[in-house]
């Protein structure tokens, strides 16, 4: 009796829950009748979740078979919990897709929390928003109203940072070191996110900061730039394979950091040394690849192909573009498939040991 009732009960529950268990291996599209989970690696409400949910809402109609897409957030350890989950725990059946803000520095510095190498995950696509740098205008006597004012006059200001190992802090410090010298500014790190730094800029606790375009459009532009509190100085450039350094199409009138460097040092001048090499490395990784779409290491090739195709199509979808622009305040810059894979492999598979040693030392110096 006990066994019979228990079996009936189990069967009932299994029947309710397992609608997606059985799959048929016929010629139907791979994702036909399936439910796909897009897994975010930061908590709900953040930029990763917002951007991921926009993709999730529009991608289904471009995947052959039109599966049901659901977005889930799994925050923790600066995005590493979900990254490990995708590589180690999620079934590699193509039904779990990572939508991650990645952390390549964690791999370079051999962070104990990251248990997977990014090149081992299957790259689908990536989107990257440009990053701008701004400073309070009253950070120097007479005011800062141009990049020239900045590199000529700004001394003794404070740069607001998150933690010494974050890409945000590292790029900020490296670019300032190269442009005005480490002795002319101070890093104040330890803020718990960008919001407290925005407040600290208002309070004049720190004066210099960098943020991506959603932060710029949502907070910096309306509450700081337009009222005349801050001057936006430059954007980090996008290095290309053929050796060019590009402005983002979203910010065509804002000079790049390298352009400002040349304003100061002459039009043919180029930075050099390990600091520049490291900054270029971080820019290559971050200015083209930021929000990453990955499949687990052994996911079926059919899933990879279907998703890559879908991402190539969605970025031409007018409804998606309108929704993206409304929420993120920028056009999406998306890289799909082999192009992104090549950047990951060329940068992360053979990192110069000298640069790793430098980076470790540099991180340590930032904590003092």
């Amino acid at each position: 009796m006990l066994i019979k009732v228990t079996s009936m009960f189990a069967a009932l529950i299994v029947a309710i829950f397992s609608t997606a268990v059985v799959s048929t291996a016929d010629a139907r599209p791979f994702y036909k009748g399936k439910r796909v989970i897009f897994l975010g690696n930061y908590p709900a409400g953040g930029a990763n979740s917002t951007e991921g949910r926009i993709f999730a809402a529009h991608i289904a109609k471009h995947i052959p078979g039109k599966p049901k897409i659901i977005f889930r957030d799994m925050g923790g350890a600066g995005g590493l919990v979900a990254t490990n989950y995708l590589a180690e725990a999620a079934r590699p059946n193509g039904m779990t897709v990572g939508f991650f803000t990645w952390n390549p520095v964690a791999q370079v510095l051999k962070d104990p929390g990251l248990r997977v190498n990014y090149p081992d995950l299957q790259f689908v696509a990536a989107a990257a928003p440009p990053v701008i740098c701004y400073i309070r205008k009253d950070a120097a006597p007479g005011g800062i109203n141009s990049p020239q004012d900045f590199f000529k006059k700004a001394r003794g200001f404070k740069f607001g940072g998150l933690r010494t190992t974050s890409t945000h802090d590292l790029k900020g410090r490296l670019s300032l070191d190269l442009l005005i010298g480490p002795e002319n500014y101070k890093t104040v790190t330890g803020y718990r996110g960008f919001t407290p730094i925005f407040a600290a800029i208002h309070q004049n606790e720190v004066q210099y900061h960098t943020t991506s375009i959603p932060g710029y459009r949502r907070v910096v532009e309306p509450t700081m730039e337009k009222p005349g509190l801050v001057k936006v100085l430059y954007q980090y450039e996008t290095p290309t394979v053929d050796g060019r350094y590009l402005r983002s199409p979203n910010l065509p009138n804002l000079p790049t950091w390298l352009e400002v460097y040349k304003m100061k040092n002459g039009k043919d001048a180029m930075p050099s040394g390990m600091r520049w090499k490291t900054l270029k490395f971080l820019n290559t990784l971050n200015s083209q690849l930021f929000r990453m779409v990955f499949l687990p290491p052994k996911a079926p090739k059919a899933a990879l192909k279907a998703l890559r195709t879908a991402f190539s199509k969605v970025i031409k979808d007018k409804a998606f573009l309108a929704a993206y622009k409304k929420a993120i305040k920028a056009k999406p810059a998306v890289i799909v498939g082999k192009k992104g894979e090549a950047i990951i492999n060329s940068t992360l598979k053979n990192v110069d040991p000298k640069m790793v040693a430098f980076l470790k030392k540099y991180v340590k110096a930032g904590g003092k």
């Binding site: 709900a44 409400g45 718990r192 949502r218 309306p222 929704a323």
Partner: protein, 661 residues
């Protein structure tokens, strides 16, 4: 200005905005009532639905939902001793004892009344402070945050009752736990035991559910009583009395609401500490403190006024400066932008009517939510008189799923169970739990503030910033007054004690403190190997913790020694008096069953594991009929599927045998 106020009202009351507001309120009541859910989860889920709406209905929907989660969260706090959301943790201290006295509906009457009025006050504060909001918000920089943290810690005096030493010790445990994970200063992970889950720190929801809910579940299961320890017909008063209590304590309500509004305004503080500070203030300012912790209605009024008022305050920096004080406000900021509004001058000038529509939404939603709950509360309160074997399965379901929603991993459950054991041990051993939570929530705020302050302002000069100085003087005065009162009460023999258990288990308390002293010693020792910035805060915490722990051990040791020497069979007498030893078989059985849920989940997923537990519990422990147990289990399965799977859309565990997709 008046035109903007009226236009704002018109935006909210016209169709379809008013319909969305009502719908938002209903959804918000649900999200607040279920432990583990919150306004944040609700906003994240509802936000995509607003993409295609006009601004007024979109804000009415989102804010209507968000406004009332801190009203309905009282249900779980009072009925089950489980915080419905992080903002109602302090409510359980007196709310649950009121339920145990059969006065749950009185607690509801008071809580819903002050929640409604507090929410309206918060909205009014938002309206009137719009022109002068900047200095109010930006006068608090990192040094002031640190000073406020110090002032917050002085509340421990109010939360530890008669045992300041154990209260401080518990707060230091909270501070130590808050240091688990990456340090704020560098990439150095601290006390993470090799578990990636711990790298970003222990999530608060599984911890709080473990500390407060699991011990109550164990007690209900082991002692097999209803939540109310008195029969229904012996209780008088009820909801009307509670509403009367709210008006009788109007001055406390006003002060607590003001605390809520101001804390809400300061980015980075918010919901997690506002209830504690309001509760601490209620205890500190009360002349008769003897009933706090035993079911004093003022212990419900203060946190519930503050946590609803806070929301109006939290909207100020979001609207005026685009600086969201919490993740929930960050989502709202996203909604502004999606609707084409920019925070800042636009919201205070050309779009002032939209800002006022938010004020009206907050006010209307708070009143509507409270009225709906007041209508239902009398029926809901009857749960407290049901036999425990009917309550335990439902509580287990919601507690387990509440913890699960933190990061959707089994680690959430292990974390909850570990803290369940710690919470049960602390409760029986007479080590107060509330200071631990206060230390935990204040820890990261204080460490970050201190570190940034040190870099930005230098080691000393920040102390002399005017607001800092005032707060620090207030903190010193609070400590002095608490010490003097304690001394006076000790002389008079009228020590106030926030009572967590009827019979304190001296032996369990002694062993717990002994083990924790060892943990502090090891943690301090380990931190010596870290760089100064990473190891500084652990040392500041561990050294006094070891000293305080030794002092507590000395005091408790004297008591134990006394029992040992005065009774014939010293050890046996101690063991016989130990509640933990007495309840060990029952408690182990329940904890073992919860661990079984984890095991079965690995094999078949939650949808099988939890209903199976419920079926087994009702038949074996509750001795109910098969039909009843099966129906209960099937309904639980359906709740899991529809409420958690479909409505909230949780990520199910990828079990070995069943793929839930």
């Amino acid at each position: 200005m008046l035109e903007a106020v009226l236009n704002g009202l018109w935006l909210v009351v016209q169709w379809p905005a008013i319909g969305y507001l009502v719908l938002g309120v209903l959804i918000g009541l649900y999200f607040g009532a279920i432990p583990g859910l919150s306004g944040l989860v609700g906003l994240a889920i509802l936000l995509p639905f607003t993409f295609l709406m006009d601004p007024a209905p979109a804000f009415a929907f989102l804010l209507g939902m968000f406004a009332v989660t801190t009203t309905s969260d009282t249900l779980a706090s009072v009925l089950l001793g489980v915080p419905g959301t992080a903002a109602s943790q302090a409510t359980i201290l007196d709310g649950y004892p009121l339920a145990m006295k059969g006065e749950a509906d009185r607690a509801f009457g008071a809580a819903f009344t002050v929640s409604a009025l507090g929410g309206v006050l918060g909205a009014v504060a938002l309206a009137v402070s719009i022109p002068v909001v900047k200095p109010l918000i930006f006068s608090f920089a990192k040094p002031e945050f640190f000073a406020l943290g110090v002032l917050g810690l002085t509340m421990i005096g109010s939360l530890s009752g008669g045992n300041m030493v154990k209260g401080l010790f518990a707060a230091l445990i909270g501070l130590l736990i808050s240091m688990v994970g990456y340090s704020l200063t560098g990439g150095v992970p601290r006390y993470w035991l090799g578990a990636t889950y711990l790298l970003e720190g222990i999530p608060i929801v599984p911890m709080v559910l473990g500390l407060f809910a699991v011990p109550e579940v164990i007690e209900l299961a082991v002692r097999n009583t209803s939540i109310s320890r008195v029969p229904r017909d012996s209780v008088s008063g009820g909801m009307k009395q509670g509403i009367g209590d709210a008006f009788k304590n109007w001055w406390l309500f006003l002060r607590s609401s003001a605390i809520g509004i101001y804390i809400g305004m300061l980015p980075g503080l918010g919901g997690v500490i506002v209830d504690w500070i309001a509760y601490g203030h209620a205890v500190q300012s009360a002349k008769d403190k003897s009933q706090f912790g035993k079911g004093d209605i003022r212990g419900v009024i203060a946190p519930e006024s503050a946590n609803n008022a806070m929301k109006g305050g939290a909207l100020m920096p979001t609207v005026a400066f685009g600086i969201p004080g919490s993740p929930a406000m960050a989502i709202l900021l996203g909604a502004f932008v999606i609707q084409g509004f920019m925070p800042g001058m636009q919201m205070l000038t050309t779009k002032l009517d939209v800002t006022f529509s938010m004020v009206w939404t907050l006010a209307i939603a708070n009143v509507l939510g409270a009225v709906l709950l007041l209508i239902w509360a009398k029926q809901i309160a009857k749960i407290t008189f049901l036999p425990s074997h009917l309550i335990v399965p439902a509580v287990v379901l919601f507690v387990m799923m509440g913890a699960w929603m933190s990061s959707n991993t089994l680690s959430d459950w292990w974390s909850m169970l570990a803290f369940g054991i710690i919470g049960y041990w602390m409760k029986q051993g007479g080590v107060p739990r509330p200071p631990l939570i206060l230390g935990f929530v204040l820890g990261p705020i204080m460490e970050s503030a201190l570190y940034v302050t040190y870099q930005a302002y230098g080691p000393i000069s920040w102390i002399f910033r005017p607001i800092c100085l005032v707060i620090l003087i207030l903190a010193i005065m609070t400590i002095a007054v608490t010490a003097l009162r304690a001394r006076r009460q000790s002389k008079e023999g009228s020590t106030v004690k926030i009572q967590e258990t009827q019979n304190e288990d001296q032996l369990a308390g002694f062993v717990f403190i002994f083990l924790m002293v060892a943990v502090f010693f090891l943690a301090g020792w380990q931190s010596l190997g870290w760089d100064r910035a990473t190891g500084q805060f652990p040392i500041v915490v561990c050294v006094p913790a070891v000293l305080l722990g030794l002092l507590a051990l000395y005091r408790d040791g004297l008591g134990i020694k006394n029992v040992y020497q005065t009774s014939k069979n010293g050890l046996r007498t101690l063991a016989a008096r130990s509640v933990v030893i007495k309840e060990l078989p029952g408690a182990s059985l329940l904890l073992g069953s919860l661990a079984c849920i984890v095991g079965i989940t690995v094999l078949f997923g939650q949808a099988i594991a939890i209903p199976l537990f419920i079926l087994g519990y009702l038949i074996v422990r509750g001795k109910t009929t098969w039909h009843f147990a099966l129906s209960y289990a099937v309904i639980s399965g359906l709740i899991l599927y529809f409420m958690f799977g479909e409505l909230i859309g949780i990520l199910w565990y990828p079990s070995i045998f069943i793929d839930y997709g």
